[in-house]
Amino acid sequence: MPTSTTAPRPFRPAVSARSMLLLHRVLDRRIPFWPALASWLREAPRLYGAFTFAERVTKERLFGCRMCGQCELPSTAYACPMTCPKQLRNGPCGGVGMDGSCEVYPSQRCVWLMAYERADAEGHAEDLRRLQRPIDQRKWGQSSWVNYWLGEDEDLWTDNPADAPAVRPR
């Protein structure tokens, strides 16, 4: 089911930030196995399709993933910003209610508020200060794991915007 065609709604992650931060260490691209796997998947379209499907099913369940293909979860304590109705990549909008409700779906909690609370509880609130670049809209539906392992999302955010201008190096 292509989730990218349904309207985004705040999603409460089904797993703790701590377990995912640990899992991320296992999936770290500096471990040579992963880039090798990713290169291999890229060469085999049917396997890539199966892998991407598995990623979609898993991440949809856990994070409400919509397959933007350029995962920000490691910066947001694993609350997906693409489930924000405004798809904000850099933090909560000014419309969050005093009770923490989403401006667009008042019965739901702002996903960025969840991100902040989860990050803060894990001592990762600093992660939310990174400047996130605009996404590449061509990557919808791609495997963000493969993109990550191949280093293709290396430029997704920066801690130092003065030295790293918005304009991407060509």
Binding site: R89, N90, P92, C93, G94, G95, Y116, P134, A166, V167
Partner: protein, 316 residues
Amino acid sequence: MTVERNGTEPRASLREKLQRGDFVVTAEIGPPRSASLEPVRRKARLLRDWIDAANVTDGQSAIVRVASWAGCLALMQEGVEPVMQLQCRDRNRIALQSDLLGAAASGIPNVLLLTGDHPRFGDHPDAKPVFDFDSIHLLWTARAMRDQARLLSGRELRLAPNWFLGAVENPFAPPLQFRAERLGKKVAAGAQFIQTQFIFDVPIFARFMQRVRDLGLHERCSILAGVGPIKSLRALEHMCRDVPGMYVPEDVIRRMRGVPEDRVAAEGLKLCSETISQIREIPGVRGVHVMAFAWEDAIPEILRRAGVRREPARSH
């Protein structure tokens, strides 16, 4: 503070006034739902000797109105320095950069860049929400256009724009502890001045400003505190219920409900000028941004009572 000018002195711009340390006043002008700019011109003439610049909103509350750039051109013709608002709800990155260039090419000196209200509660809830960018992407891109003379694509601009870049922040929206940090992200992306959401709770705002000062942000951008008068109990109810991110504390509601019906407007005006006097004392506040929808003629009296302006500046 009354700024006296003689007829030959050129008017300083909003940017110059903030640089030299004036306490500035900006106001919000909502353009009409009509094929006419006369209401904008009328409000401009009413306010021009009292304010330093005026924002023209951009499809505020996701309701169709005259475009911000058109309202800004009318303001300039009436002698009011405009602040063009531009939001990401209705445009992708191509349209945003085109509109930014259009503003620069037309001589609009200030742009205020925002994410925008979601269409769900506007007059076209069936519209496609774009949100290709968020406000920080837009600020960052605008800064690159100005300082690097490049579009986001990397393509060069033959002539770089020279805007004064603005953004907004809401000190009253959770997570309150993160709001100053978020402001810091906007400053890092390029924001040079900030206008805040309506302030009805001064202590919360003061705590926000404390955090802003702790981060040193007040030295890197000018913070203009958002205020506005409550005209009627109906307006108050609308603010509390329909305006996203609006926080009106209980004691303000009690105070407004505690006066006879015919004195609500006077009380609202008084409350607004008192709020300005209080927030003026908070270190790091460089001015006020007055939002008085459909009640712009109250602005001079509010400023006079708050002691911000004693008399209109020179007519020009």
